[in-house]
Point group: C2
Chain length 246, copies 2
C-alpha cells in the first residue's frame, strides 16, 4: 500500500516553536524529507527538529531535497518533479513520508509544489498537514508588537509587488507585513505614505539566518529607507497607527 | 521583585498544536491566566493545555478571567482593567504569570489589551511572548488548501469591514481570509466578485466549537451565499484562482 504523505510545519526555526503533533509525527515516521536551497548548505527546517530526531532509537531515513531559490519557472518545475519523484519512490515502497517545512506547509512553502505533483500522480494518496507557527507571529512575538486587534485588516505581501498595488493595499488595511524582505525600501515607504501610513507608523524588522534570529529592529516608517531589509529571510511588520501599547 | 508576564499562544484548540516552548512555560509557571467569554463557560484556551497541566506535580494557580464578547468600548475597558488588576496582584507578589490565548497572543487576542494596561502601570515589567499556530494555518491544514505561494498577496479581515473596503482589498490580493465569520455572505460574495474573484473561486470554511473543529466545508464562491458562516469562531479562506492542486 502507498505510504502516507505528511506536510509538517516546524515553525520559524527555533526547536521550541515546533508543535507537539509535529514532534509526534517526527518521532515515528520512516522517511523525513527536508528542503534546502543549496546542496552544500544544511537544511534549516531539519536543524529545527534535530533535537527531536536525536531522541529516536531507530533513525529515520533523511532525504535532503534541493529547491533552488530561482525565478525561472521551467527550472523550478524540473526541481519540483525530481524531488516529487524521490518522495514517490518512498511512498510506493509503503513508507510514510514527512515533508518538513519552515513555518507552515501551506503558506509560501515548497510543500505546495511537490504535494501538487504527487497528488496528480496519485489521486488516492493519503495526505495530512500539520500546521506550524509562521515567521509573522514569531516576528511580532520577538518585538512584542501587536499585529492586529478588533477590526484591523491585515495584508501579507511578498517583496516584489508593484508600488501601485502596494499603495492600493495600504489604503485599505491597518497592518502590512512583508514576508520576503523589501527590495526597494525607499519606493515602498513612498507607496505606504501615499496609502495613509505616516512617517511615524511603527514597524518591526526581523532578519533570520539559518533559523536563528540575527537581527531585530523596531522603529518608525521614515527610518525604513535607510535600513537594509532586502534579505529573503526578513519579515517586516508596519502598522498604520501607533497602538497604545507601543 | 515583580514577576514576569508571559503571553502564551496555545494554537487553535487542539493540544497537539501547542508548541514545545508553550509546554515548557506551562510546566513551571506559578500562575496561569485563562480568558473566557462567560462565567459559566469553560475556557477554550485552558482546555487546549489541560493535558500538559495534568503532568505537573505542583499545581499552578489558575485564574479564569472573563472578557465579554461585546462591542461597547467602555464596558470592554472596564473588563480589561479588572482583569489586568487581577494579574498585577500576582505579579506584585513576585509570581510569574502566563496569560494563555487561543491562536497567537498578538493576533486578534485579548492579551494585547491587558498587556497594554499592565505595561502602562509597570514600564519596567519583563514580558515575553510565545507565538502560536493561528486558526488560519489550521484551517488551511484541515482542508489542505494552500493559502499563498510565490508572489501571492493575502488579506486577513474581520467580518464587519464595509463592502467598499472589501472590494478594494479583493481587487489587489490573491487570497482573502475572514477570521471572525461573515455576517452577510451574499453581500460579501458581491464585493469579492466585483474585486476580481469569480463564482468558481475555491474556498474553505472551518467552524470551531469549544476548540474542536465542528464543521469543515470546501466549495466555490457562488455557494457561500447559502452557507451559515456568521459564527465568530469561523475561518473562511477564499482564493481568487484555482491552483493546480485543488
Amino acid at each position: 500500500m502507498l505510504g502516507k504523505l505528511v506536510g509538517v510545519g516546524v515553525g520559524p526555526g527555533d526547536p521550541g516553536l515546533v508543535t507537539v503533533k509535529a514532534c509526534e509525527v517526527l518521532r515515528v515516521v520512516g522517511v523525513i524529507c527536508a528542503p534546502k536551497a543549496r546542496h552544500e548548505r544544511p537544511s534549516i527546517a531539519l536543524n529545527a527538529v534535530k533535537p527531536f530526531l536525536e531522541m529516536r532509537r531507530n533513525h529515520p531515513k533523511i532525504l535532503e531535497l534541493v529547491f533552488p531559490m530561482i525565478k525561472d519557472r521551467r527550472e523550478l518545475e524540473k526541481a519540483w518533479k525530481i524531488n516529487a519523484e524521490a518522495i514517490m519512490t518512498e511512498l510506493k515502497a509503503g513508507q510514510d513520508v514527512a515533508f518538513i517545512t519552515l513555518g507552515d506547509p501551506l503558506f509560501y512553502s515548497t510543500f505546495i509544489y511537490v504535494y501538487r505533483v504527487i497528488a496528480k500522480a496519485y489521486p488516492e494518496l493519503r495526505v495530512e498537514v500539520v500546521p506550524g507557527v509562521t515567521s509573522i507571529t514569531a516576528c511580532a512575538a520577538a518585538s512584542k508588537m501587536p499585529i492586529a486587534e478588533a477590526d484591523d485588516a491585515v495584508a501579507v505581501v511578498p517583496a516584489d509587488l508593484s508600488p501601485a498595488r502596494i499603495y492600493e493595499i495600504a489604503k485599505n488595511v491597518d497592518t502590512i507585513i512583508f514576508v520576503k524582505g523589501i527590495d526597494n525600501p525607499a519606493e515602498m515607504v513612498e507607496s505606504l505614505l501615499k496609502g495613509g501610513f505616516t512617517r511615524d507608523s511603527p514597524l518591526v524588522f526581523v532578519k533570520k539566518c539559518g533559523g536563528e534570529v540575527e537581527e531585530i529592529k523596531t522603529g518608525i516608517l521614515k527610518e525604513l529607507q535607510s535600513w537594509r531589509v532586502e534579505d529573503y529571510f526578513s519579515t517586516i511588520i508596519v502598522k498604520k497607527r501607533t497602538g497604545d501599547a507601543e
